[in-house]
Each structure stands twice: as structure tokens, then as C-alpha cells.
């Protein structure tokens, strides 16, 4: 297995996924904000709320098109670049992706056309229903994608079938109710709401600073602040839930995020900041907060969180088990589909089969894991530790920003309750400059979740290094360069259009509503 192909395939996936994930959180959140605004319009009949829905809808549409365009790549990329992955886990992983299309994306994409083209063709209520269906569709979409992703982090309800050489589903209910998937869903969707809320907040603050579209901006700010406060609180609370689950299912990820080199006496301290050094296995200039990590990770005072050194030792034992499973598997396969399998091999595979993936970690070093030397086994065990520094920092960036979002949306919530939204210009400026920050937090979150899973593509089941397609380096370089080029051009064009639309503002729309006396009234 050529390492260059693995590195390049990972680079391409990270590039396309991170790029796709620029647009998706805004789609998820903004669709709900649009539905809320239009609901107010239908309930109160105040046309300014319709104008708000239309104006933010234009921005939603530009962003949605980019999400759709980059999503097409995601749907096919598993087969293109990760063909062994697709073969090995398609039986489980493919189903939520297909159901996402059936149940969610079809709904969202069909009604989004009517959302834009249906204002004059539908009754108010029918159009409102359309908007809600778009919001429900995009949120359900996230649910199914995160069920698929949750299974990569915590592969429940499946078993290896020696005859087909792949994982097959044994309990689909367990895949659906996977606790990791549920926590990830709520966490990610809330993050999307926060992205959209701060986007609306920032753009509206800019209008207030400029003294333009004041009525529309104030109402939008109120919606964004209250929605954003609830969302950012939910991200934090359910982020904690994610941390708790990581300690159950992905101890290695948790230890790497915390740069916990050794197991500490319970309850472990939380390293607020420091400089992890993976080679020396220590964190320089660390500032510890006693007990906090143990409380978050285990919700108890006396449960230990294992450190990286202990987890590596555990990996080495699992690799040795995996080699036994691999050996038994070869015997079982040699017997053929209808042959008689020696009882000993069958029993061995049944007891050690769940460690088979650990033997595949050795494929980087040796074709037949049974021939691995002690040094190779030791090295493969070391490989089960993900890169500590990027995880450590991404996590702290994400959490720090999350705290800031609670503060920001909370402040504006108070201001809107007091009806003093435009009283402090510096706060409005802060809101404008905060616009890009939720994206930084969301991308950092992706890095924590997916980099923290390495070296596995399916935790404990399939190493990333064996999951790739057998493509040439040149081929991969062509597509990486191609995607990077086209994505960069599109992103620049998209940003320009967004800014142009924002600068132009809801000009003709607000003129129409200014003609109506009640549009100048108090917040409804």
C-alpha cells in the first residue's frame, strides 16, 4: 500500500469535505430562520416579515446552490477514492446515505424551487408549508448523514462476514439509535443554527451601523439573537455530551484532545492551554485546571480516564489478537463457501474476530500481518495515537469560540429585550467582525471529529490506509488540483455575490413595506 496515495486521498477528502461544510451549516440554520420569519408573517400579516424572508432567502439561495454543487462530489467520492471502504462497509454505511436522499434531500431540493418561484403561485399558508418543508428536509438530511458518520466513530450493529470479506449489518436499530450519532446530530445542527444566527446578526448589525433598512435589521437581529442564544447554549451542552461519549467509545480521541500522555488519578485535570510535544510525550507550559476533565469525561469523581501511553499498550494487545483473528480468517476462507471449516479456526474467529481491524493496521508495513515483527507491531500500536497538537488546538479554538458565541448572542438578546439594539455602536461592530468566526469553529469541529478518529476510517474496524482506491499519484494530483482550482474560483465568486447582495440590501422590498403604515410600528 503506497502511503502517498493514502495521504493524497485524505487530502482530497478533507479539502472537499471542509469546503462542503462551509455551506451546509448556513443552509441548515438559515432554512429554520426563514421558516420562523415567514411564520411571523403569516401569523401577523405584517409584510415586513415577508420582505425579511425574501431578502434572507436570496442569500440562502446563493449559499444553497454551493452546498448542492459540492454535495454531489461527496456522494460519489467514497466510491471514487475509497473503493475498499465502499466494499468493506457499504452494506451499513450506504443505507443512511440512500435514506438521506429518499427522505430528506428530495424534500429539500424539490421544495426549494417552489420557495423561490412560488410566492405568487401559492396561498400564504401553502408557501409557509413549503418553507418549513425545506427546513425540515435540510435538518433531516443532517440526521442521516450523521447517522452514517456516527457509525464511523462507533460501529455498532454490524459483524464481519468471512465469505463476503466485509462488514454486514446485524442490527439496523442499533445503527439508528447509535448514541454517538444522536449526540453528533444535535451538536452539529445546533452549530449550524449558530452559524446562521451570527451571520444574520452580523449583517443586520452592519445595516444598523450604516443606518440602512433599520426596521428590517432590528427585527432580524431580534430573531437572530434569541435563536442564536438557544442554539449556542445547545451546542455547548451537547458538545459536553459528545465529550462524554468520546470517553466511552473513543478514548484515544479524548486523550489526544487533552494531550493526556499518562493516566492520571481520578478525577483528571483539564489542560486549559499548553504546547503538546508528541515526540517527547509531554505538554510544555501547560496550565491545568484540577478535576474538570474527569468530571466532563466520566461524570464521576472516581472513574479514571486512560492516558495515551496506556491506550497504546492496549492497542498492542488488540493487534496481537487481531493477528490471531486474521489467521483464523485465512483458514475459514480457504475452506470456500460450502467447505467444512475447522472448529478451532471458527472458535478463534468468534472470540477474536472483533479485533481483526487491528491486524489490518499492520498492512502498512507488511503484506501478511502474520509475518509482522515485534517492532512492526509496536510501531502499529504507536500509530493508533492521532496527531495530538492539531487536535489539542482545534478543540480549544472551537470551545473558546463557542463560549464567545454564547456571550455575543446573549448580549444582543438582552439589548433586544431592552429595545436598545443600536445604542452601542462598538457592540454592532463586534457583531460584524464576528461573522466569519462560527465557520472557524465549525471547521475546527470537523477536524477534531475526523482527525481524532485516525488512523481509523471506521474506528477499530478499518484503518484509513487500507481503505483507499488503487489510483495513481498523478491521477490524484490532477483531481486535487482540479477541485482546488474550481472550488477556489467558485468561492471567490460566491463571496462577491453575497457581498453585492448584502450591499444592495432589500432595497425595493423595503420601499414596498415602508408604504404600509404598520410596518413602521413596534416589533411584532
Amino acid at each position: 500500500m503506497d502511503l502517498d496515495i493514502v495521504a493524497l486521498s485524505r487530502l482530497q477528502f478533507a479539502l472537499t469535505a471542509l469546503y462542503h461544510f462551509i455551506f451546509i451549516p448556513l443552509t441548515i440554520g438559515l432554512s429554520v430562520i426563514l421558516a420562523i420569519m415567514e411564520t411571523v408573517y403569516v401569523m401577523t400579516g405584517r409584510t415586513i416579515w415577508r420582505d425579511m424572508t425574501k431578502f434572507w432567502g436570496v442569500l440562502f439561495g446563493i449559499n444553497f446552490a454551493m452546498g448542492v454543487a459540492t454535495g454531489i462530489v461527496m456522494e460519489f467520492q467514497f466510491g471514487m477514492n475509497w473503493s475498499y471502504y465502499s466494499h468493506y462497509v457499504g452494506d451499513i454505511f450506504g443505507a443512511p446515505l440512500a435514506i438521506e436522499g429518499l427522505m430528506a434531500f428530495f424534500l429539500e431540493a424539490t421544495f426549494v424551487g417552489i420557495f423561490f418561484f412560488g410566492w405568487d403561485k401559492l396561498s400564504r399558508r401553502a408557501h409557509l408549508a413549503t418553507t418549513w418543508l425545506v427546513a425540515i428536509g435540510s435538518n433531516f438530511s443532517a440526521l442521516w448523514i450523521l447517522i452514517a458518520n456516527g457509525w464511523m466513530q462507533n460501529p455498532v450493529g454490524a459483524a464481519f462476514n468471512p465469505q463476503t470479506m466485509r462488514m454486514e449489518v446485524t442490527d439496523f436499530g442499533a445503527v439508528l439509535t447509535n448514541p454517538v450519532a444522536q449526540a453528533k446530530f444535535v451538536h452539529t445542527v445546533s452549530a449550524g443554527y449558530t452559524v446562521a444566527a451570527i451571520f444574520v446578526l452580523g449583517v443586520s448589525a452592519w445595516y444598523l451601523l450604516k443606518g440602512r433598512h433599520v426596521q428590517l435589521a432590528k427585527r432580524s437581529l431580534t430573531v437572530a439573537a434569541s435563536f442564536g442564544l438557544a442554539a449556542s447554549l445547545s451546542v455547548a451542552v451537547l458538545g459536553d455530551e459528545s465529550g462524554y461519549l468520546a470517553s466511552e467509545h473513543q478514548k484515544m480521541k479524548l486523550a489526544a484532545i487533552e494531550a493526556m500522555w499518562e493516566t492520571e488519578p481520578a478525577p483528571a485535570a483539564f489542560t486549559a492551554i499548553g504546547f503538546p510535544d508528541q515526540a517527547a510525550r509531554e505538554t510544555h507550559y501547560a496550565i491545568h485546571i484540577p478535576m474538570v476533565m474527569g468530571l466532563i469525561g466520566t461524570r464521576s469523581l472516581d472513574t479514571e480516564i486512560p492516558g495515551l501511553a496506556q491506550l497504546t499498550e492496549r492497542s498492542e494487545l488488540l493487534i496481537r489478537d487481531g493477528i490471531k483473528a486474521y489467521d483464523a480468517l485465512q483458514t475459514i476462507r480457504a475452506a470456500g463457501p460450502r467447505g467444512v471449516v475447522p472448529e478451532e479456526a471458527q472458535a478463534m474467529f468468534e472470540s477474536k474476530g472483533q479485533s481483526l481491524g487491528y491486524a489490518l493496521l499492520l498492512k502498512r508495513y507488511v503484506d501478511d500481518p502474520r509475518q509482522a515483527t515485534a517492532a512492526q507491531i509496536h510501531q502499529a500500536a504507536q500509530d493508533t495515537v492521532p496527531s495530538v497538537a492539531p487536535l489539542f488546538w482545534s478543540f480549544r479554538v472551537m470551545v473558546g469560540l463557542g463560549m464567545f458565541f454564547i456571550l455575543l448572542t446573549g448580549t444582543f438578546f438582552v439589548l433586544s429585550v431592552r429595545r436598545t439594539l443600536d445604542a452601542h455602536r462598538w457592540l454592532l461592530k463586534v457583531a460584524v467582525f464576528a461573522i466569519p468566526l462560527p465557520w472557524v469553529a465549525a471547521e475546527a469541529g470537523w477536524i477534531v471529529a475526523e482527525l481524532g478518529r485516525q488512523p481509523w476510517v471506521i474506528e477499530g474496524v478499518l484503518p484509513t490506509a487500507v481503505a483507499v482506491s488503487n489510483l495513481g499519484v498523478t491521477t490524484l494530483l490532477i483531481t486535487i488540483a482540479g477541485f482546488a482550482a474550481i472550488y477556489t474560483v467558485l468561492l471567490v465568486v460566491e463571496m462577491k455575490l453575497m457581498l453585492k447582495t448584502i450591499r444592495k440590501g432589500p432595497a425595493e422590498l423595503s420601499l414596498a413595506s415602508a408604504a404600509l403604515p404598520n410596518a413602521q410600528g413596534v416589533l411584532s
Binding site: 444553497f64 466510491g79 452494506d91 450506504g94 436522499g101 454486514e168 439496523f172 463457501p337 474550481i486 467558485l490
Partner: protein
């Protein structure tokens, strides 16, 4: 859990073979007129207003239509994971080219009319043309290669090794199939424009559509003759248990001349597909000439369905034959998901596909009628 054994593995595999056909036909019929309309954009629309009429004729529906492709990809992943793995990694660069074209399309729809600058608009018009032309051609080319067998094999661990090149895909028979696909989707797009546009746009579309309908019949007929004369099919040379494990390497298969016509000989009723594939484009032609737009659209949709189904009927039970190692060929009986996954996916599809068809029909009903060029000129009520 034994609920899934309510339906036998064999039946589920057959259902999923048919359902993938339904999804491909659904994609080719709905997104097909989007692709065809994109190809016709520079030719049927001469002024900016005419082009906006054409773009707005598919503006509200292309997003939903494209989901047929996304869903097709997801369903192949879920029901035929090996097909998903082998075809997309094997046709890697061809897929990349299709993806680039398809990425351009959504963006072009959204961005094109947001600025007045004629050069800006011309650039996105070109993007829409490419976004229609390239996928329409390459999907056909891919089909042509599948019919000839694809150079892949499996290692002991079932890793896929593909030993072909991108330019190897562009062989004469495959290109002929690409042209069939191109002609058929242009015919379909032109019929759609008959329904949604009037005036000069509809007139030009009618002319191009008539030519495309004739070409569809000629090219499809030629491809059939070429298949008979120059392409060897594949046949199974060992018994494949219809409810056995999904491992292609447990059987044997071989190249055999005329094998792609064996099903038609054994089950003469299957001739209905190729015959309809030849007759329906002529019907579409007749309706186009008689200015009967809706029947023309239905006839061209029928042509597409018949042409796609004729390929499926010819190849059954093969899905993706291997020219390198015929044993590795993927068939209906040895490359599906597990019994349980197929069952779960059938349940999900039975629940959701009718709902999808229902709301899609409702949306088309709401949007029924010609695109109002006056409204576009006034910039009211239209998004693109």
C-alpha cells in the same frame, strides 16, 4: 431479527436490480430534460431574454430532478456496494469530469442573472451548456464501456485493481453510445421547451428536437448493430446460487459472442424494450412536427426509458462484467448488499418513493404552464 426473511434474498436482489433501473430512468427522464435544455441554451435562445426563458423553464425544478442522481448514487452504494466501489473508482477521471460539469450547473443557475454584464452572462451560459453536454455524453460512454466489459479484477482481500486508462474509455463503440445518449437527451430537452416556452424559442427547439429524434433512432439502431457485430457479451459458466453470499469470485464466467442477445432470444417479450427504443423517438418526432408538446414529451420520456431498459435486459444478470477476469464480473446474484440491508432499503423505498412522486407531481402542477417572458422582462416573480 428475522423480519427481513419475509422476502427471499433472490426476490430482493431482483427488486433492487429493477429499482436501480427505476432510479436511473427517473434521473434520465427528469434531469434529462434539464441536461438537454442546457445543451440547447446557446442554440434555441439568441437574445438574453430568450435565454432567461429557457433557464427559467427548468429553474424551479432542476434541483429536485438532480436528486434522482444523488439518490441513484446512494442507492447503488446501499444495495450494490461493489458496483459503487468498482465503477466509480474505475471510471475515476471520467467521474471527475462529470462532477466538475455538474458542479458548474447549480452555481450557473443561481449566479447567471444576478449581474447585468453580458460577458458574465455569456460565461455562465457556457457553463450551463458544458453542465448539460458533458454528463449527457459521458453517461452514454460509460454505458458503452460497461457493455464491452471493464478491465478490473479483485485481489485475495477483495481490493479492486483497475487496469484501464481514461482514454481507453473513449473507444468507438463507447463514443457511439455517448452520441445516442446525447441525441436522446437533446430530443427530450427540446420537447420540454415545447411545453414550457413559446414563440421563437419553441420554434427553434422544435427544429433541433426533430433532428435529434431522427438521430436518436439512427444512432440507437447503429449501436444495436455494432453491439451484435463487434461486441462480445458475457455469460455465466458455473451455477450461481441466487441466494448465495455476495462474493463474485465464487463463480466463473466467460466472453461469448452474441451473449448480449441471448436474453432476447430466450424471452421474446423483452424485444419490447429495443423496439420501443426505436419507435418512440419517431412518435416524438411526429408529435413535435404536429406541435403537440405534451405527447412529444411523453414519447421522448418513453424512448429514454426503453433505451435504458434495453441495456438492462441485454445484460441481465450481469451488472458490470470484467474484461480482465470474467470471474470477477458483478452480477445480480453475487454483488448485492446483505439480505437484511436489501430488505431495509426496500421498506424505506416503498414508504418514501410514492411520497416523493406525489409531492414532485404537486410541484410540477403548481408550476404548470408556459414561462411568462413578460414577467421575466419586468423582473417580477422569477428567481433566475
Amino acid at each position: 431479527m428475522i423480519l427481513h426473511e419475509l422476502i427471499s434474498y433472490e426476490t430482493l436482489r431482483l427488486i433492487w436490480w429493477l429499482l436501480i433501473g427505476v432510479l436511473l430512468v427517473g434521473f434520465a427522464i427528469t434531469d434529462g430534460f434539464d441536461l438537454g435544455t442546457g445543451i440547447l441554451l446557446p442554440f434555441a435562445g439568441k437574445t438574453d431574454l430568450e435565454r432567461r426563458v429557457i433557464i427559467n423553464s427548468i429553474g424551479p425544478v432542476w434541483e429536485g430532478n438532480q436528486v434522482w442522481l444523488i439518490l441513484g448514487g446512494g442507492a447503488i452504494f446501499a444495495a450494490w456496494p461493489q458496483l459503487y466501489a468498482v465503477s466509480f473508482s474505475g471510471f475515476y477521471l471520467a467521474m471527475f469530469v462529470i462532477l466538475v460539469a455538474l458542479i458548474l450547473r447549480p452555481v450557473a443557475f443561481k449566479f447567471r442573472s444576478k449581474r447585468e454584464d453580458p460577458r458574465w452572462r455569456a460565461r455562465w451560459d457556457a457553463a450551463l451548456f458544458i453542465g448539460g453536454f458533458v454528463p449527457a455524453l459521458i453517461f452514454g460512454v460509460a454505458m458503452g464501456n460497461v457493455l464491452q466489459g471493464v478491465p478490473f479484477r479483485f485481489t485475495d482481500d477483495m481490493h479492486i485493481l483497475y487496469e484501464g486508462t481514461f482514454f481507453g474509455l473513449l473507444n468507438p463503440f463507447a463514443l457511439l453510445c455517448g452520441l445516442v445518449s446525447l441525441a436522446m437527451l437533446v430530443m427530450h430537452g427540446a420537447s420540454w421547451l415545447q411545453v414550457k416556452a413559446d414563440g421563437a424559442v419553441a420554434e427553434r427547439a422544435r427544429r433541433y428536437g426533430s433532428v435529434a429524434a431522427v438521430l436518436t433512432v439512427l444512432l440507437y439502431g447503429a449501436a444495436g448493430v455494432a453491439l451484435w457485430l463487434t461486441v462480445d457479451g458475457y455469460r455465466l459458466t458455473s451455477v450461481v446460487p441466487v441466494d448465495g453470499p455476495s462474493n463474485p469470485m465464487f463463480k466463473t464466467a466467460a466472453l461469448a459472442s452474441g451473449a448480449w442477445f441471448a436474453n432476447f432470444a430466450a424471452h421474446p417479450w423483452t424485444w419490447a424494450a429495443p423496439v420501443l427504443g426505436l419507435v418512440s423517438p419517431l412518435l416524438a418526432l411526429a408529435f413535435l412536427r404536429a406541435r403537440r408538446a405534451v405527447p412529444a414529451l411523453l414519447a421522448s420520456a418513453l424512448s429514454i426509458a426503453a433505451i435504458i431498459l434495453s441495456v438492462g435486459a441485454a445484460m441481465f444478470p450481469f451488472i458490470l462484467p470484467s474484461s480482465l477476469d470474467p470471474r470477477a464480473s458483478l452480477t445480480v446474484w453475487d454483488s448485492s448488499s446483505s439480505h437484511m440491508t436489501l430488505f431495509i432499503m426496500v421498506v424505506a423505498t416503498t414508504v418514501f418513493l410514492p411520497i416523493i412522486v406525489a409531492y414532485t407531481s404537486w410541484v410540477y402542477k403548481v408550476l404548470w404552464g408556459k414561462v411568462d417572458s413578460q414577467a421575466i422582462a419586468d423582473d417580477s416573480g422569477h428567481a433566475y
